[in-house]
Amino acid sequence: FVGKDTVDDETLDELEEILITSDVGVKTTIEIIKRIEKRVARDKFVGQAELQALLREEIVTLLQENTADKPAAFDAPLPNKPHVVLIVGVNGVGKTTTIGKLSYMYKAAGKNVLLGAADTFRAAAVDQLKIWSERAGVPIIEQGQNADPAAVAFDTTAAAKSRGSDIALIDTAGRLHNKKALMDELSKIKRVMSKVVEGAPHEVILVLDASTGQNAMQQAKAFTQAVDITGLALTKLDGTAKGGIVIGISHELNVPVKYIGLGEKIEDLQVFDKKAFVNALFG
């Protein structure tokens, strides 16, 4: 018995449409199709069910794994004390809200959380994060609007160390990645943090809106250049957007998706599940 070793055109066309309409992008879609054709030539398949499983497996392998030094699970032991996390991304993607959710999850897992309100630019940004800190029941370091964001990041990192916090989450202002001055400011914020705690920030999480198109790749590349992204958070997956942009980004830049945002309430966050995500593309 031999089985089939090529995929018919109709299946490939359907796959292309699913992937493109999920914002996977043309380049990554072509790569996925190439991989599938190689895999099928090698492993052969019998029937649609087996082919479908194969398709999904190939896509899952493009998504990077979370590592022990940057664990996604909230009850996992943190490799540093304090474990310092910087949250970055373009305007309006959900950074501040995600920090509120992360605080709640970490606190529920018994960790001491400290927040840093380093978005000192946008109207009412500090007030917004303060409300989240109250909701989560965690302390916050803030110096109001127009303070120096690097100073807030520095002070938060220092305070996390002196207070014995387990984890510090630092919010930054939304910024478009093509604005050199803003990206330089972010690099400075990162540099300054390492001066008070060695290795800080231990994580730099890029927040992406699931409804973003191919520009997300430019965002990821530019933010990697400026502050070396270590993980992704994908928000607004409670909408109809599939967030397929993370596949190419995770694969090309070798960063895992850590969390997904599924709503506007404090508990609307989950640790990323690769298989569930890929199944949802087809579902």
């Binding site: 373009v90 309006g92 946008r122 198109g213 997300a216």
Partner: protein, 292 residues
Amino acid sequence: NLSSNLDKAFQSLKGESRITDVNIAETVREIRRALLDADVNYEVARQFTADIKEKVMGSGVLTSVNPGQQFTKIVYDELVETFGGERSDIAQAHTPPTVILIAGLQGSGKTTFSGKLARYLKQEHKRNPLLAAADVYRPAAVNQLKTLASQIDVPVYSIEQKDAVRVAKEAVSMAKSLAMDTVIIDTAGRLHVDEEMMNEVAEIKKAVNPDEILFVVDSMTGQDAVNTAKEFNERLNFNGVVLTKLDGDTRGGAALSIKTVVDKPIKFVSTGEKLDAISPFYPDRMAQRILG
């Protein structure tokens, strides 16, 4: 860019004197790919490319000296035509106040745009606007609108109760009693699949009967743009679209998808975080941007 990619596609056609279904396939694929890379919706890109192909068949493109460039011009012209004319007009009520409702998905830039629109109407059209803080959910949303409004010396109407419809209604009554000629209602970001929230914004519309409803969209939106635009249009029959964050480097294909699917004019673009970063929509600039 598209023009040079098309030139490459045409290299393989040297010596062919007439356009045929076969030799145009490569070129049409290049155009479709350029549109998809620019985030144009899959179905919109397919249809748009089919229309281009039809326009080009028998048009003598291959006989021109520079077919790649000529082909690109056909695509460019088609884009400009789809977008319609330049716009920056807002309806004006016969009896003041003119009521403008601002709606859209979470984080698209509505609150900032509400401030920008207030400043624009005050400055360019000598209006006397009142801002209504009808986002009663987001932490510090009212505060955010008030902070922006204070920068341009525009008053904000807000209430303690979490009742968006009431804010809108009372803001309009307040404007009437104070002889303010314009009310701009900022609303909470909402998903088009959130029944309750879509009902709320439909309620607001019913309660205050806006003269103008603007759908605010993040220009970096991908394939999902048509789903949200369709549903918001179904529920609100909005008058126009605002594209935000165009100071980024996104190609903005969502603009073509939305215009094609709901056929409503793009009236403004937002090009920065400051309140003066608003401009009319220019179809030719958008076409250029999408072509990359």
